[in-house]
């Protein structure tokens, strides 16, 4: 064996070694929950969508700044309020090398409308989808739908051929709660901005263990770091914490329809009077809750929606001032100088520090003479009993996946709406909601949204508390841009 031959072998070994270690960049990602399924249309649920989005793409998508932009479709147009055309990219290949055509897109949207899909309600206004040519599709809606693009950004496209071969037969044998590995697709059509080759998703249920795994270096990034551990993580060498307001607002609801409170002592329903609702509002010291309960990680809210949602303005989000004396006066004016008694229902495992927030509210309302009895329980019971109309006074949080005010009005304010448990009803607001659903002229639509917000804000139908803040903790060399919907986009992430 001569020297040149030997050096060739050594070089080859070095290259293999180098390509595995120097160029392989892995991100180990952990959060509390796991995806429920790898089927992109089966479950409309937070972590599941987060996982699907690392693998699948939609016609349009939200970028890092949360604005809608092209993804599999390069452009689109609505020829009339009910008919849309989408023009597809022609260079997209699935990871098995098969090129994507309009047939796959049509198949995917129809698949998401199947009775077993969790997205069927979500895109219920889509009445027909058809392929016009190889790279053009037409979508018809049953009524004008201004938020169609929002909705389509969550409908993932999969290969028709592959799906029929693999999904049609049996449920997949994949075990939730354990390791899921994502490998880089070298056939991807876009400009690669990341430098990673692999993502490993390792869910860890217990918060203390999750933090320990991050600190010991077994995990690179945690996308639901517990509030109480943030200081310790950021003070540990080689780790950092990033925070941003989340797309969820926490608030309290008061039933204004019942003639008598189920848990009251006055024989009537004080919540019917706006003065009472305002008194409770002004008696809550939201800055104290932010400082003591949320450790600074919350943004006090004036309305039940947050920056980034169509219709949100800073002026609307301004709260009434905290003023105990004014609150007492309002109560007296309303005819309850000695206050009243009511039960506050709260979940204790749904929102960040939910039970602690309620406990703080109990003390604050006690100062104006309203005796609040706290009833905190697990989320599955809390929400069921709320649905069954058992709550006088309750906590709820609301996220807006479509980033449009309609989502808030349609569920929380419309007469008889499924989560309108304060039983708010106002003909002007209902009319404005109809406009939001049908009006494609954006100026008119925005005017309707602004009007509706002003009505419900003035009425104090709910007591807004704060917008939640999310925090991601990671190693210092990991750069994953934080996003308000808590969804990492690893295609923009870097390992340094």
């Amino acid at each position: 064996m001569n020297f040149r031959f030997l050096s060739k072998i050594l070089l080859a070994i070095f290259l293999i070694f180098a390509s595995n270690t120097v160029f392989a960049k892995t991100i180990k990602w952990s959060m509390q929950g796991d995806s429920l399924t790898l089927d992109p249309h089966a479950q409309n649920e937070g972590p599941t969508t987060q996982v699907s989005r690392q693998v699948y793409e939609a016609l349009v998508t939200r970028g890092l700044d949360m604005s809608i932009g092209p993804q599999l479709a390069t452009k689109w147009k609505a020829v009339d309020p009910n008919t849309w055309y989408f023009f597809l990219r022609e260079d997209v290949k699935f990871s098995n090398g098969q090129p994507m055509t309009s047939e796959d897109v049509v198949f995917s949207i129809l698949r998401a409308k199947q009775p077993t899909s969790d997205f069927k309600e979500y895109i219920s206004t889509i009445s027909s989808v058809k392929a016009i040519d190889k790279y053009t599709i037409q979508i018809k809606t049953s009524k004008p739908n201004p938020i169609l693009l929002n909705q389509l950004s969550n409908i993932f496209v999969m290969s028709k051929k592959w799906s029929n071969e693999n999904f049609a037969t049996a449920p997949q044998n994949w075990d939730a709660g354990q390791e899921t590995v994502f490998k880089k697709n070298s056939k991807w059509w876009g400009d690669v901005e990341h430098n990673i080759t692999e993502i490993q998703l390792l869910p860890i249920k217990n918060a203390a263990t999750r933090v320990a795994a991050l600190l010991s270096g077994e995990i690179d990034i945690v996308t639901d770091a517990p509030v109480q551990d943030l200081n310790r993580i950021s003070s540990s060498a080689g780790h950092k914490v990033e925070s941003t307001p989340q797309m969820r607002t926490i608030f309290l609801g008061m039933d204004q329809a019942a003639d008598q409170l189920r848990s009251g002592n006055t024989g009537d329903n004080p919540f019917k009077k706006k003065e009472v609702r305002q008194a409770l509002y002004q008696a809550i010291d939201i800055e104290a809750i932010k400082k003591k309960v949320m450790r600074g990680l919350s943004e006090p809210a004036g309305i039940i929606t947050f920056p980034g949602v169509t219709g949100y303005t800073k002026a609307l989000d301004k709260r009434l001032p905290y003023d105990v004396d004014a609150a007492k006066q309002l109560l007296a004016d309303a005819g309850y100088p000695d206050g009243f008694e009511v039960e506050l229902r709260c979940p204790n495992d749904r929102y960040v520090n939910d039970e602690a927030i309620c406990t703080a509210v109990v003390g604050m309302l006690g100062k104006i003479g309203v005796k609040v009895n706290l009833f905190a329980q697990t989320k599955s019971k809390h929400f069921k009993e709320l649905k069954d109309d058992q709550g006088d006074f309750y906590m709820l949080g609301w996220g807006v996946p479509t980033l449009d005010s309609h989502y808030v009005f349609h569920y929380l304010y419309e007469s008889g709406a499924s989560w309108n448990k304060v039983n708010f009803s106002n003909a002007d607001v209902d009319a404005a909601i109809r406009v939001m659903e049908g009006e494609v002229d954006l100026d008119k639509r925005n005017a309707a949204i602004a009007k509706a917000w002003q009505i419900v804000k003035d009425d104090i139908s709910y007591l807004p508390l704060h917008h939640q803040v999310i925090s991601w903790a990671s190693k210092s060399n990991i750069d994953v841009p934080i996003r308000p919907n808590n969804e990492p986009l690893f295609r923009f992430s870097r390992v340094n």
Binding site: L36, T37, A42, N44, E45, D118, E121, Y122, P171, D175, A176, G177, Q178, E179, L202, P203, I204, K205, N206, A208, T209, R210, A212, A213, L215, S216, G217, E218, D349, T378, S380, K381, F383, K384, K387, Y411, S418, W419
Partner: protein
């Protein structure tokens, strides 16, 4: 003999029936599964359709008899959350729990016996006091606190053991084992020691008490008088007799270990049955919850049944009583 056997079998069946009823009742009293299965925006008609298709609208006795028939076949329906057969999920998670429990029982038995003998012999020693004090901590500190302490010490500060998971597993087809890889072996150390502490304390104290009692007996004194070596007296003659109750207790407690593993598995993200159960509780995934309850009860009933039958052969007094009764 046959009568005794059937009597025990009948008692076991009654217990299982009661457990079956309790696990069935879960379907009716723990939250509303429909709320967890569908999104918040699902209409009321769709909710009632789903109730109908899951059979939640049938009368209680029909639901119960359907439950019993399916349970006896090992079928507990489809998980609400994961949409997969529960029996399949449980068999997938079984190896992780069994391996954890096996190693824990082994650690508890071996170290518990050794430390028990040591403290039994050196009753006033300095080390005995320390062992007993630490073992007291093992019983009084909750498992999750011990688990977290271990994680911080061995994973975060020392960085020598993994803080979560099962490491690499080798799939043997019918069984997935972590015993064949280094990462798998490393991963099992912390959870199994955590889980074993309670048992270990129990065994230390039991062995210690047995040893102290036995060392006072005449035959030990006689052995000493005969000039046998200390080693031979302690480990051959004394320990042998002291171990009989220990083995009985340890056997029965394997059931307890499986049940206790819920907490340990959650702390260490150990992908076993207990972990599956905790996930199910939070999602109100009743098919998994009731299947788990049923399974744990079955393990307990089976162990008790086997122990009862073994007693019949081991302890002549029971045999005589049983025969007199049938006589």
């Amino acid at each position: 003999m046959i009568k005794y056997f059937f009597k025990r079998l009948f008692q076991s069946a009654v217990v299982m029936l009661i457990v079956a009823f309790v696990s069935f009742s879960l379907f009716n009293f723990v939250g509303d599964p429909i709320n967890n299965m569908v999104g918040e925006e699902t209409s009321d008609e769709e909710r009632s359709q789903l109730r109908e298709s899951l059979g939640l609208n049938d009368p209680v006795h029909i639901q119960f008899s359907r439950f019993i028939v399916n349970a006896s076949k090992g079928e507990f329906g489809i998980s609400y959350q994961l949409r997969r057969p529960v029996s399949e999920l449980i068999t997938e998670r079984l190896p992780a729990t069994i391996e954890l429990v096996f190693i824990s029982a082994l650690i508890a038995l071996v170290s518990g016996t050794l430390l028990g003998v040591y403290t039994g012999i050196n009753r006033k020693g300095f080390f005995s006091d320390i062992i007993l004090a630490i073992s007291l901590l093992g019983v009084s500190l909750p498992t999750f606190v011990i688990g977290i302490l271990f994680i911080y010490l061995f994973a975060v500060i020392l960085g020598i053991l993994p803080s979560f998971g099962r490491g690499e597993v080798v799939d043997l087809g019918f069984w997935s084992t972590g015993f064949l890889t280094t990462t798998g072996l490393k991963a099992i150390i912390l959870p199994s020691v955590t889980l074993s502490l309670f048992q270990m304390t129990y065994i230390i104290r039991l062995v210690r008490a047995e040893m102290m009692e036995i060392l006072q007996t005449d035959y030990i004194k006689f052995a000493k008088a005969r000039g046998l070596s200390e080693k031979s007296i302690y480990y051959k003659h004394a320990l042998k007799n002291g171990l009989i109750p220990v083995i009985t207790i340890a056997g029965i407690n394997i059931g307890t270990l499986i049940a206790f593993s819920i907490i340990t598995e959650t702390v260490f993200q150990w992908p076993g049955m207990g972990f599956l159960f905790i996930q199910a509780v939070q999602f109100v995934d009743i098919p998994i919850m009731s299947a788990y309850l049923f399974f744990i009860a079955f393990v307990f009933v089976m162990i008790n049944f086997i122990v009862d039958i073994l007693y019949y052969f081991i302890d002549p007094r029971i045999r005589v009583k049983a025969e007199a009764a049938s006589g």
